[in-house]
Subunit: 199 residues, 2 copies
């Protein structure tokens, strides 16, 4: 019920690392079909070839599991983005371009997006550290796109608002309440804040 103290996790053995991978893989695969609801802990455990208790030892809840899945996907995305950086003239264009590229990646797996986004926003305090990690990685991606050495406090505020918009627009998109054009407009609108802070 309350958050656990997380002592710096001991290094995993090879077989444990493999188990962890299998679990995350199974999670992503099931999510890729029916979304959040299709990720059922018993099925994940079976697909990963581990006992239910073991699954819970690795990921203390379904939300933890899905947030970890998201961390994983974000890593892939960040790597892909580094390979081909955005080409826009201004910082705000580059950020918007980057986020739209991320969005198109999500569009390719809408069910997976559903599972990850719902888990991320439903997460309670016990998952805060993991959600923070996701947030930091997102921030890093945006700052990368801006291409700044030392962002000013005003710029960091703008980035925060852009991130809020990003998360919330994803929610409305996965729940079918926003069209793809709407997503694009909202992201671009939020990105204008960057121009406001660097004239």
């Amino acid at each position: 019920m309350t958050a656990e103290v997380r002592p710096a996790s001991p290094p995993l053995t090879e077989r444990q690392e493999a188990r962890r991978r299998r679990i995350l893989h199974a999670s992503a695969r099931l999510a890729g079909r029916g979304g959040f609801d299709a990720v059922q802990m018993r099925e994940v455990a079976e697909a990963a070839g581990v006992a239910l208790g073991t699954l819970y030892r690795y990921f203390p809840s379904k939300i933890h599991l899905l947030v970890a899945t998201m961390q994983d996907q974000l890593d892939h995305l960040h790597a892909a983005l580094r390979k081909r950086p955005p080409a826009g003239e201004t910082a705000s264009e580059r950020v918007a371009e980057t986020l739209m590229r991320a969005f198109r990646a999500l569009q390719r797996e809408p069910h997976l997006a559903d599972a990850m986004v719902r888990a991320l926003t439903f997460a309670d305090r016990s998952v805060s550290p993991e959600v923070e990690t996701v947030s930091r990685r997102t921030t890093a991606i945006i700052l990368d796109a801006m291409g700044l050495e030392q962002p000013t406090p005003a710029q960091l505020s703008a980035v925060r608002v852009i991130e809020h918009t990003w998360h919330s627009v994803l929610i409305t998109w996965v729940s079918g309440r926003a069209s793809i054009t709407q997503v694009k407009t909202d992201i671009e609108t939020a990105c204008r804040l960057i121009d406001l802070t660097a004239p």
Copy 2:
């Protein structure tokens, strides 16, 4: 599993209206204690003096119930805001002031806020109409604060981003990942977008 077609709901008898009120009241009271988890359907039914099946006839899921609870609270808020409109000079100041007032109202009942915000963002497609209603009311509150007759498309975009920021910052606040000062800063930053669209 899939969304139902909702035929324009027939008018409720007096006793039915009373039942509905009792249910919403019980929901808000339980939420006011332990938040989302404390709103347990069996307990709501018992506290409202209706059978479990009846509760589900009025609100087809826990999420529907909590979103309806939010609609209810928003109405109260909107009424209170109309009585004492925001006093700021510029539109963006007035919007920021209004949202901060709403935020202070939520702070007074943090558990209730938790329940409503979590439900709102976890809602899937089957709850879209109800969530849309909440969104429209929020938009109305913001437009009221701006005090405009005919908002331009650009201004409507800005309002959308402000709303995204509002929802997302609430999520981070209820999950303990953002301080109250952070909330204030983020709201004010988003509101700057309004100035950008009306020079």
